[in-house]
Assembly symmetry: C2
Homo-oligomer: 702 residues x 2
């Protein structure tokens, strides 16, 4: 049975049921066959009841005409009847005291507007009955460590020691991921297909799995995150327990969003924001099924890595060049050996080998299998090495030629290194019973198949490990928002800038003049930039409302010209005057925008330089709030960051001051409350330590 912590979870009777009624069990349904086989394959020790109209036994499950007829407690109803019979089935189950239902039946929200209505009716029924509902359109889940299958996802035998949990919105994909994990000799502790997530979502099972001790890492395949708040809570708990979450979430393309909607009725959401959320929550995001399982499996095997460097050791120079070539793209640090380490290696290596990292021990290891025993402790000794990867063939089929002495040397030695170590096969491969016997015989560590996927997994593992102990600000801070009644309208550029100025954010000084005479009376030296002030005009240049480089002598003339041009172009627009500011040139322009993501709430985006943002989409995004330190990290991610470091004739920016100002803009956006739709400061002009917001725009939700 499962562990104590998980047993105390509010959803424990759902996820680890001790009695299950399969509603709609019939011999002619292939689904019933899959389910019944699972009870046998997992060796389920609880009670199982087959509910069908005739009340007959099915495939070894005792038959009843209804849940009420069972006459014994039932933890969970597994509903497999056609849609038309589902509501009655729930009524029956509830009447028998069942509190949990897993609904395999499809044709709900994934199937157009009629299906959406059916799902709505289903959820209302569940609410009325006070029932937890998993699905609909879900293949269910297997609690492997509790030997409790509530699913049509097949057991894979032999069951391997539990290591990772798999949570997938797609049932077929849950099954595929499970098979792939098994093929990589990665055991699963729990496999869940969440389906349409009408009521319970993947966040709920992730929350349960945080308590599930046998689960050492959680691998998620998702099309959408339906309940961001619960998901974030679960992720925060996982992080606090140092339990990694790895997620493969689609949504990079418009086509994927469309396909996902047709699949489980889900909305993928803004992908850039999701990236930022993962970074904030310390969730590892990957982009292929293989990366998902291999990364989770790696961290389940190694735990947090003690340092970010990878030491790679191989008998193959080709494998070494592949690692050297791919490491950077995979975000993997392969630190060079110190002179001491290189000298120590040279003393124990054959003549032809180099002493670089990656370390090519050459074919000499064919004749000298104990070479690994001499080399490994030296190569692994640097404190900047957090993971040792040894590349050598392990047997996957009977009779495969390998170097057994070398495998024994590796197995014996890695156990003494005091650091995580893995074996790496050069290419993708299925690990088999033959491999498992070799692992036992030689004491081999965790095996990863494929240099490329290993590099990506090692890069992600190092990233996750390094930020485990950094502070994790919540996305859901209770903001001290201002009273909506006192919310300033901020209808014009100048109103926005004045508001920011009052919050100690530096803005460009300005006169607002309402007459030609007022304009002409300005005594500053100039030149000036002049802009129309109107709550009705967002695009001032197009309306003829902007003049740049205006000399002091012609301010009056320019005032008239602007007012006349705007009157001609936009006769309906209210005009509150003309803004006169000192002309600014040179420096770097930065854009700061706060927008509200439908899933994740307010996010802040910074981008550098007009052309870079527009042509190269050079911007970084984070959920609010952000600290000044986080803003510095965002700025450093920009391709155009060098513009801020001093570039050609542009002086280096005061980055601390800039980051502080941007963080305060984010704080102020939060303070303006949940009705703020967007706040855009474009540009902020930066010339060394002179930093000024030049323009601002606010919009509110209706």
């Amino acid at each position: 049975m499962t562990n104590a912590a998980a047993a105390g979870h509010p959803l424990a009777t759902l996820f680890a049921p001790t009695s299950i009624a399969v509603i709609g069990a019939t011999e002619k349904s292939p689904w019933t066959g899959f389910i019944a086989k699972n009870f046998r394959d997992f060796g389920y020790q609880g009670k199982v009841f087959a509910i069908n109209r005739a009340g007959i036994d099915v495939l070894g499950m005792k038959g009843f005409a209804s849940c009420r007829a069972v006459g014994a407690p039932i933890d969970l109803a597994f509903v497999t009847v056609p849609q038309a019979a589902v509501l009655d089935a729930l009524d029956d189950a509830a009447a028998a005291g069942v509190r949990n239902a897993v609904i395999l039946t499809a044709g709900y929200a994934e199937a157009g507007s009629e299906g959406v209505a059916s799902q709505q009716a289903l959820l209302e029924k569940a609410r009325a009955l006070g029932m937890n509902v998993w699905g609909p359109n879900s293949l269910g889940f297997n609690n492997v460590t509790a030997r409790a299958p509530v699913s049509a996802i097949p057991a894979l035998l032999p069951l391997l020691p539990p290591s990772i949990a798999i949570v997938s919105q797609s049932g077929a994909t849950a099954s595929e991921l499970n098979e792939f994990a098994h093929s990589q000799n990665i055991g699963t502790s729990f496999v869940a297909a969440t389906g349409n997530e009408g009521q319970l979502t993947l966040a709920d099972v992730v929350d349960y799995l945080v308590d599930h001790d046998e689960t050492r890492a959680i691998a998620i395949f998702a099309e959408s995150i339906r309940d961001p708040a619960r998901f974030e809570r679960a992720a925060a708990r996982a992080r606090a327990c140092r339990k990694p979450i790895v997620i493969l979430k689609i949504g990079r393309s418009a086509l994927a969003t469309e396909v996902a909607k047709a699949h489980t009725g889900s909305l993928a959401g803004n992908d850039t924001v999701f990236d930022a959320v993962c970074e904030r929550l310390g969730i590892i995001r990957v982009f292929s099924t293989e990366d998902l399982i291999v990364t989770a499996g790696l961290l389940a095997a190694t735990g947090p890595l003690p340092a970010s460097g990878l030491e790679f050791i191989s008998i193959s120079g080709g494998a070494c060049t592949l690692v050297a070539d791919g490491a950077e793209d995979a975000g993997v640090c392969v630190p060079p050996h110190s002179a001491d380490v290189a000298a120590a290696l040279a003393a124990v290596m054959p003549g032809f080998g180099s002493t670089l990292n990656p370390l090519d021990v050459t074919g000499a290891a064919v004749r000298d299998e104990m070479l690994f025993e001499r080399v490994l402790p030296i190569a692994a000794s640097s404190p900047d090495i957090g993971l040792i990867a040894v590349n050598l063939a392990v047997p996957v089929v009977e009779g495969q030629a390998t170097l057994p002495g070398a495998l024994t040397a590796i197995g014996r030695t890695v156990a003494t290194l005091g650091k995580p170590a893995i074996m790496v096969l050069t290419t993708a491969r299925t690990l088999t019973d033959v491999t498992r016997r070799a692992i036992a015989e030689h004491g081999l560590p965790h095996i990863v198949c494929g240099i490329d996927v290993m590099l990506r997994a090692a890069g992600k593992a190092a990233w996750w490990s390094a930020r485990l102990d950094t502070a994790a600000p919540s996305l859901l801070l209770a903001q001290a928002a201002i009273d909506p009644a006192e919310r300033p309208p901020l209808a014009t550029e100048r109103a926005v800038l004045d508001h920011l100025a009052a919050r100690s954010i530096p803005v460009i000084p300005a006169y607002v003049v309402k007459t030609r005479a007022e304009a002409a009376a300005i005594g500053d030296a100039g030149p000036f930039a002049m802009k129309i002030l109107s709550p009705d005009i967002a695009h001032k240049t197009e309306a003829g409302g902007v003049r740049l480089n205006v000399a002091r002598e012609v301010l009056g003339e320019a005032f008239d010209a602007i007012v006349d041009a705007v009157a001609a172009a936009r006769p309906d627009a209210r005009v509150d005057g003309v803004i006169v500011s000192p002309m600014r040139e040179g420096g770097v322009e930065l854009l700061v925008g706060v927008t509200r993501d439908a899933n994740w709430g307010p996010t802040i985006t910074v981008g550098l330089g007009g052309i870079l943002v527009e042509l190269v989409a050079d911007a970084a995004t984070a959920p609010l709030p952000v600290s000044a330190g986080e803003v510095r990290a965002m700025l450093a991610k920009l391709r155009g960051f060098r513009l801020l470091q001093g570039f050609r004739n542009i002086p280096p920016a005061d980055l601390d001051r800039l980051a502080d100002i941007i963080a305060r803009i984010g704080d102020e956006a939060l303070r303006l409350g949940p009705d703020l739709e967007s706040l855009e400061i474009n540009p902020i002009l930066i010339r060394g330590d002179e930093i000024e917001a030049l323009d601002g725009l606010v919009s509110w939700r209706d």
Copy 2:
């Protein structure tokens, strides 16, 4: 035996020997064991002789004390003796009439300067003896279709029908790639490890493989291309035969370059240039071992694709979203179904399925296995579909639950589509004898394991197929270079621009003035840009030699100021005067540079906008010559291309004219002959159809 075309190849007795002497064969060497096992496993029908000092038989190979003692013709000597004995072995072989040697012995160019000298001596010996040499430091090759193994790369049984050739500079990697291919049910026709390539290189075996009919695609792992000219010739022949070459070449990182040097003594070369060379030669470049084999195996199975679109059909909505999400990054076009196709699909699909591409037929196919028979012909019918991929589990282990009826329906139907079709498994997997039986039973097409790798392979296959019939200009055009004696020195900016102007390339007009009076006498309106004219000063601004926006009235003053500033900053520099040009502003700046790559000769690079080139490395490179059409394609690749299409207040560039000018700059660089080190035009200013070179710089090889 191998086919007639390959039998006529100049290297046929090397690559398909009918008699082999293994020099250094002894029972105690593991290498001899590997080699002898290969002769047995492949069923080699030629004669094999074991050469060792004692002249004794070894592992079933008839023993002799020398090649001369054999007394029968020997096609090939396989040299496995220690380095000190290699030269004598070659002497002996040559004396016995042997023309081909494969040298396994290591410790040559890969092992530092002493090894380089040993290799040099080896090659001189071979040249003196008139011998073809393969290696040294090479595991040799297996000509699988000729059943002729000359290697320590193990045979993998059962031998699968030949499909791809594997050529690798690394021996261990050759073996790994071979194993991976076998695990993907991809048979190999030829497997070669080229090692140090002292004399014969991978280009030679690729050339042979073009004639090798059983080889349907060539997969290469390379650290460097040692003989670009021969490689290019072989690639051009392969392209003419519509035989795809797929290459995994390292060199992306500095670390990889260092490691490769230590491995096979090779220099990786400029990676950007190699990218451009692959594009020019129609070679598919990949970045992982799995992509290498899967892409080659796909094209070997399908041949050129008739159209670029992919149709993906699955029982799993999750797999469909993965395809939709990954297609764009993989360069795969997944065209939407036409209204007609969608309507036809809707008529035969179950209620819950959508009719998008990727097509989710849903779990309904579990009950209705014939669904694929109805759906496939419709989904594959659009002329824009060139590859059909069906995602459904196939058995890989005994007793695995699959849908046999669906597999039969798929096998039967794909054979009738008249287009390439494949099966796709969702994740990486090893295909087995169980799979092969299922393939035979159901008539299944080629199987690719893993959605991600399938997408990348399909994208590359479509790219390769689409450009098979485009013209392929040679990299090695005999250029009508000018007589070196008549080569202009082009020592100054103005000399370069005047030279280009004489070749009808538009350049900014200029006066060259030598005195203050000449400067003051210029009658044009201005304003002007003024620059010092000196063959000794490359960085004019730093030397005080540039003034911009000079009004006509102050030309004389500015002349003095420039001359004085330069005299102060660079008192040693020769000064030929001052260039006075009209001041240009606005528009887009383009950089055009021609440089000479050590491997591939002159290449041209175009980059847009100073900041984009410098911060984002926004540039495109191609080997010369380039046509105007190719330049257009290069420009369109730039992130900043939108700047040329009309952007904000910048008018759209005359792209035809611009491309023509750039192509002519490339032609002129070629005409300047092989001593040209570099020619840089920076910038070319573009304002609509006004295109002008503003500055130019030439350097020559010493």
